[in-house]
């Protein structure tokens, strides 16, 4: 982490008072005990208790808070629900956390134009829950959707199991309201499609809280298909499962989801969700198709026939809503279920799908070489791997080994033509690996863009870019 600014720590009381004057005392979190709730996100190996936490209730309050803090040269960490797996919301002792928790209203829903306007602290699932009675949904569905916020989704450009067909956050957000570092409120995009020219919205989505604080968003809502049905297929090898995925896609079918689990993951998820996953296979695919009843049957028939060429040892199509729910529960709670048996580091590399079997084998070898076990649960249709590297967090040596193994896995992803992160973001976790994917010139350009939005590097500054090679900062105004 960059050095802690002692002069900021010394001004703590004054800063807290300044914030209280803007949002009211009751919305500033001051005591160490309460601040500790914000010391980490879901990458819990990294912790730092922030200077203070402020919970504004309106965009105007966010603007006043940001202006106040930036004028005082105080670092600002925006926070949604704190479910980031890359340390994106990790604070530092000299930073103030600006939490969106109170800004969680759905402002309007417009079914005719298929859009919803929300405050950015709303949870992802809440949008779908609000529009579901009319048969609509908000498409990107991170497994963390019960907790994570649209603000966090926008910052990370989050994806989910159903993104194979419907795209990720950036494909489903039409507009945002954002507070820039000088406290200006700007509207980018709107409720129409595409930018007039420069796609500022596209640049801001995925910028990991480094460009401004997003306070509202307009998102697309889509009419759900009439029905959807998952099927399970078990295979004796990763090769067979991988080849089956490729054959399905090459045949012209894009299922709404193709999820992959390996043997260790199946065992843990089955014990948790009782979804009826086969326990005697090396690889399990959950494939979901949707449409009318006739269409679903047709697609399942086509997929079953393609898959038969790869000799699945089990094929089971869900027969009821309850069974479908159990199948998805197992997948969506996979990380949580794994967390009950072991600490883990969740990787997020992406590879060309044709390299699946080969890369999975090498991931196993890498982890074994550090004496660690690994479980794989991921989005197979798009090659987004999530190796869970199991370790004991109470043993600092194991943590270091898990981190090294993780770095090797991600380097492997880049080496085979993929990337470091498909949906969790760079955060603190992959910051120092950026040089493996990008040249100094690439990183230089990105950092100059950061400086345009945030000349003093006060917004979530410790993230994304290696600490070495950063540009000199503009003088505080």
């Amino acid at each position: 982490m960059p050095p802690v600014r002692a002069e900021i720590l010394a001004r703590r009381d004054e800063i807290v008072a300044g914030l209280a004057a803007i949002v009211g005392e009751e919305h500033v979190i001051v005591t160490e005990d309460e601040r500790r709730a914000y010391e980490a996100d879901a990458l819990s190996a990294y912790r730092a208790v922030p200077l203070a936490v402020v919970l504004p209730g309106t965009t105007e309050e966010v603007a006043a808070v940001v202006r106040y803090l930036s004028e005082g040269g105080v670092k600002i960490i925006a926070r949604g629900a704190g479910t980031s797996l890359s340390g994106g919301a990790l604070p530092s002792p000299d930073a103030v956390v600006v939490g969106l928790a109170r800004m969680n209203r759905i402002l309007s829903v417009d079914y005719e134009n298929r859009i919803a306007r929300v405050e950015a602290g709303v949870t992802n699932i809440n949008i779908t829950n609000t529009v579901a009675h009319r048969g609509f949904f908000y498409a990107p569905d991170p497994s963390s959707q019960l907790a994570c916020t649209i603000a966090g989704n926008i910052a990370m450009n989050s994806g989910g199991a159903h993104c194979l067909k419907y795209g990720v956050t950036t494909n489903n957000v039409l507009g945002i309201r954002m507070v820039t570092i000088d406290g200006t409120i700007v509207d980018i995009g709107g409720d129409h499609l595409d930018a007039a020219s420069y796609d500022l919205l596209g640049l801001i989505v995925g910028s990991e809280g480094q460009f401004g604080i997003v306070t509202e968003a307009t998102v697309r809502i889509l009419r759900a298909a009439e029905g959807a049905r998952p099927m399970l297929m078990g295979f004796d090898s990763a090769e067979a499962a991988g080849a089956c995925v490729a054959a399905i896609i090459a045949s012209g079918i894009i299922p709404v989801a193709i999820e992959y689990m390996d043997r260790p993951a199946i065992k843990v998820c089955e014990a948790f969700a009782h979804a009826g996953y086969p326990l005697d296979v090396e690889a399990l695919l959950i494939i979901e198709v949707e449409g009318s009843e006739a269409e679903i049957e047709d697609l399942i028939g086509r997929i079953t026939s393609i898959a038969s060429g790869f000799a699945p040892s089990t094929t089971r199509v869900s027969k009821s809503e309850a069974e479908s729910a159990a199948i998805w529960k197992g997948r969506k709670s996979a990380f949580g279920a794994m967390g009950r048996i072991s600490d883990y580091m969740c990787m997020d590399g992406v590879i060309p799908t044709s390299r699946l079997p080969d890369v999975l084998k090498r991931v196993g070898e890498i982890c074994a070489s550090y004496g660690l076990a690994v479980a794989n649960i991921f989005h197979a249709g798009d090659g987004n791997l999530h190796p869970l590297i199991l370790f004991n967090a109470n043993d600092p040596k194991e943590l270091a080994k898990a981190e090294e193994a993780g770095a090797d896995v991600l380097k492997l992803c880049v080496e085979v033509g993929g990337c470091l992160t498909g949906e969790h973001g760079v955060g603190i976790e992959k910051r120092d690996l950026m040089g493996f994917q990008f040249s100094a010139v690439d990183l230089g350009l990105q950092m100059r863009i950061k400086s345009v939005f945030d000349p003093q590097w006060l917004l979530n500054p410790a993230k994304v870019f290696p600490l070495d090679g950063r540009p000199p900062l503009a003088d505080a105004a």
Partner: protein, 394 residues
């Protein structure tokens, strides 16, 4: 004298741009030149064309991914994909019929102008299919963003930012896309005689149905031609037939839907994509407006009170094409006034004189213009890449 540089590889582009930057020599950046008339006129003595930078560098049908150098003709890509029953999801429009330019559209040009078509409403714009770029900045630096995999959030998304930047930030050298399978068949439901308000309501109902509509357009009545509204469905044959029947039933309030199947449907959507259905005379100004669909009919009515206009709605009403616009500003004040803050209006076609005088692209709010100006300076400090093509002084 206007010289044209035709570099053959990325390094040559980088050298040419670095050289121009050192001399502060503005460059017009061009692909096939089929969209040269789009945007503000660029004052440059030299043109850098990517036409010689060609070739498909990667095509993996089983992974639904393709990469090509920027100057690769779009047609070459579409032909290769068609042979494997795949396609670009965003159905890029061909501007030649409208703008009257010759030449061959290149894939780099498609990206630089974020060119999409009717399927945008369901499958996203060019920027949504684009997964990776390589480019040369205004300083002659070679940079990349994204890659050739389906998902990628590593670093800032310059892929999106460069799509639609009209060669003013960087010269694209290579682009990668995710693809979709071509549907087995398609069909179009046609409703006749609806006024604009009813038509947009019908299209909204179709797009809000569970039947996966991939095109929703409306051409109001003109001359002796009655108004027609078009709704496209595609996919496997049995499914398309079933959905078409059920959607037609759901839409009975809007009249009896006829069906255009197969090739007739395909050519219809080509005329919508390329705006030929607007049926305009050559010199009339053409506007392209993106807005909230339910606002579009009132916007059109306001415009029509001011001047005669032919109109085509696409994207369920969210995209409005207007042919018409009088005076020295080609109707800009009226159209943008009627639009208010609810979207953007781009002047796609007008005489060079009008294009020099009017804001072609929707003016940006002052803080966003300022931000854009600063970003332009980061990419192109010497201001040599297509200066002024999008906004004056930028």
């Amino acid at each position: 004298m206007n010289v044209t540089l035709l570099p053959k590889d990325e390094n040559e582009i980088a050298a040419a741009v670095a050289n121009a930057a050192a001399q502060r020599l503005p460059l017009a950046i061009m692909g096939g030149g089929t969209r040269a008339g789009l945007g503000r006129p660029v004052a440059a003595k030299a043109t850098l064309s990517t036409r010689a930078l060609t070739g498909i560098t990667l095509y993996e049908p089983a992974e639904l991914v393709l990469s090509a150098r920027a100057g690769t003709p779009l047609e070459e890509i579409e032909t290769l994909l068609a042979a494997k029953s795949q396609r670009l999801a965003f159905e890029p429009m061909d501007h030649r019929p409208l703008l009257g330019e010759g030449g061959e559209p290149t894939i780099g040009g498609v990206v630089a102008a974020n060119v999409s078509g009717p399927r945008r409403i369901q499958a996203g714009a060019a920027r949504d299919s684009l997964i990776g770029i390589r480019a040369v900045t205004g300083e002659g630096e070679i940079v990349k963003s994204g890659g050739r995999v389906m998902k990628n959030v590593t670093g800032y998304d310059l892929v999106k930012f460069l799509a639609g930047s009209y060669g003013t930030l960087a010269v694209l050298t290579e682009v990668s896309f995710k693809l979709i399978p071509s549907p087995e068949t398609e069909t179009t439901l046609v409703l006749t005689g609806l006024d604009d308000v009813a038509a947009v309501a019908a299209l909204s109902a179709a797009l809000g149905s569970p039947f996966s509509v991939t095109g929703a357009a409306h051409r109001p009545a003109f001359g002796r031609e009655p108004a027609r509204s078009f709704i496209r469905l595609d996919g496997f044959a049995t499914s398309v037939a079933d959905r078409a029947k059920r959607l037609a039933t759901d839409l009975t309030d809007y009249g009896k839907a006829e069906q255009l199947a197969g090739r007739a449907s395909v050519s219809l959507w080509q005329t919508i994509r390329d705006v030929a259905l607007l049926g305009t005379a050559p010199k009339v100004p053409i506007w392209r407006i993106s807005t909230r669909p339910s606002l579009a009919p009132a916007l059109v009515e306001t415009v029509r009170r001011a001047f005669e206009a032919r109109v085509l709605y696409d994207w369920g009403g969210g995209l409005v094409w207007i042919a018409g616009g009088e005076g020295r500003d080609a109707g800009a004040a009226i159209i943008r006034g009627a639009l208010g803050g609810n979207g953007h209006a781009t002047l796609i076609r007008a005489s060079e004189e009008v294009r020099s005088a009017v804001e072609i692209f929707q003016p940006l709010a002052p803080p966003l213009l300022e931000l854009t100006r600063k970003l332009k300076r980061i990419f192109d400090p010497a201001g040599i890449l297509n200066p002024g093509r999008v906004y004056a002084g930028l």
